[in-house]
Symmetry: C2
Subunit: 341 residues, 2 copies
DNA sequence: TTGTACGCGTTATCAG
DNA sequence: CTGATAACGCGTACAA
């Protein structure tokens, strides 16, 4: 009993001299109400500053016009943009987005799924595909519509809206190799429970194999997606003999850290070492030199995911897989060394 | 009717062979329940994977353990960190944070306040003090506990948790002047409806006055908090005659843009022009050269705000004002030019 | 076109 | 310590 009671449907009905059913209809099925009464009701609503009580609505209708998203973390900006677009598109349909985080922990993700379902979300948006089978079974048993973002899986029975992390990383590695690099190192994300991180590493590794190169520790190191960890990892790589001529990073934040490590070592990007990123967040452009990186289709991904989850929740449409192409954004952190010995 | 029905209190009660009241008590007042029955109930809960239905709880108890925050925007990272800490501290008390955005529009803010109240939030967190009197009256009439962040106002009747934007900007300007700068320009935020932006500008202006300097267009320009707009604004400033030797920015994002503009003009920071920011978000450190900027106490601000809103909502504690000091973080974008003519 | 009446899942009051 | 039972605000058959 914290705030003074908000006005209820009943209050509006009384003031307008109609029944609560009519008020409810004005809100939900305006076509069924005579214009003159509608006007009276609307006046009453405005007068009282009435807002529907969410709990009541949820209880009575068993739907909330709410979609829940569970992302690994809010700390870095990685997921922020995609979510922003998801949210924009959802709000176009009057749907609210509830965001929760899992800290890259499958257990916590399962908890959050339950909590969001308790809040009555009509659908869920999750990141990636790697999670315990029980979680999928739970979702199936409850018939919760859900879409997985940030991955692509054309043949998956689940709804994926995203891009092919393996392919994108493979392309980037090919690009780097095409610039004459042979001593290539990689700072990847923590792969445990993170399929995007693993796929990116495998993509790079596969491209290198194609050219008779191998990617393995100590030239491959896993680090968290922070500037600090990127910097630490890069510092180690620069001390190796022979040192890499190019460092491929699992994301832009790590790459920004790598840039700092190179500078601290008294070297220059891209003259002494090339550094490339992944994600194309704002940071990639703000940093000096600008990062050559993989552009992730945040906008399309967010929008398509929104449209799909709405279709699935509202019309019970079947799952569908949408794969969006990535592309490499050339800035100035990658140098061509083909001409050199 | 989107998902298969979740298990209810009733299901748990039946399975455990007790009444719904007992199950409810197990959850809310465990002390009042005999251990043996508690065990049975807990087993049933685990067995069914029961999660309380939020709407039902809200309806019956008129409480939600939910706090709403309305921030101007999610696009830049400005508010992200503060919110992160707010959220962490709240979750320590089992409270969920719901975030909405107003796009710097007072009208939209009022709407969101209504929407969040409809969702039954126990309290609100808002940014800044500048908003229509009606909004304050509405909040007062409904007796909603609320705290204003990102500002400080020792004598305000409302609860403020933040820092003195005017003072912080004043200090920064004094700092810049202390480094020998006399031709100082400023890229401020859009002041309309944004008291933080106005105060920062006034703070700088007042410090300059103190030294017989004036801040006015075209040396003062308002721009949105984006890299792009910061860059555009800085480009204009650099074309002025005489050009500024230092550019004070309303926030770090603008400063990052200014850095780019300087570089594009073939000049160097800080040798040719000094640039300083405000906020001390990650970007300030990632950028080259690192930004000398005003460190905003995100952590303490978030935590204190959380504690206060909890006290106000739970114990009906009175409003209280908390002002936290800012400090200047020296990196390398500000140069001392005292020795020069 | 409008009104009546019931039920959604939970908490809280009151008896036992 | 536990059980019945009445709210809570709303949507929606069904009836008028």
């Amino acid at each position: 009993m914290n705030t003074i009671n908000l006005p209820t449907l009943d209050d509006v009905a009384r003031l307008a001299g109609v029944s609560t059913a009519t008020v409810s209809r004005c809100l939900n099925l305006p076509a069924q109400v005579r214009d003159s009464t509608k006007l009276r009701v609307e006046a009453a609503i405005a007068d009282l500053g009435y807002t529907p009580h969410f709990g009541g609505m949820a209880l009575a209708s068993n739907r909330t016009n709410t979609v829940g998203a569970i992302i690994p973390t809010m700390e870095s900006a990685i997921f922020a943009r995609g979510l922003q677009f998801l949210q924009e598109e959802l709000s176009l349909s009057g749907i609210t987005l509830l965001v929760a985080t899992s800290q890259y922990d499958p257990e916590k993700e399962a908890q959050q799924i339950r909590a969001l379902l308790g809040r009555g979300v009509d659908g869920l948006v999750l990141i990636g595909q790697e999670r315990p089978e029980e979680t999928y079974e739970f979702l199936k048993a409850r018939r919760v519509p859900f879409v997985l973002m940030w991955t692509s899986a054309p043949n998956s029975p689940y709804c994926n809206v995203g891009f092919d992390n393996h392919q994108a990383a493979y392309d980037m590695a090919m690009h780097v190799i095409g610039h004459g690099h042979r001593h290539i190192a990689m700072i990847g994300g923590i792969t445990k429970g993170n399929d995007r991180a693993s796929e990116r590493i495998h993509g790079v590794s596969d491209a290198m194999k194609q050219h008779g190169l191998t990617l393995q520790p100590p030239y491959l190191v896993e680090a968290k997606y922070t500037i600090e960890q990127g910097k630490t990892a890069a510092r180690q790589l620069l001390r190796l003999d022979p040192p890499p001529t190019a460092i491929i990073c699992g994301n832009d934040v790590q790459a920004a850290g790598a840039l700092k490590a190179v500078r601290d070592a008294g070297l220059t990007v891209p003259d002494d070492v090339s550094v490339v990123g992944f994600d194309d967040i704002d940071l990639a452009e703000a940093v000096e030199p600008g990062l050559t990186t993989v552009h992730v289709p945040h906008r399309r991904m967010g929008r398509e995911a929104a449209r799909l989850i709405i279709k699935m929740a509202r019309d019970r449409a079947p799952a569908q897989n949408i794969s969006i192409d990535t592309k490499i954004v050339e800035r100035s952190s990658l140098r061509d060394i083909s001409g050199q010995s």
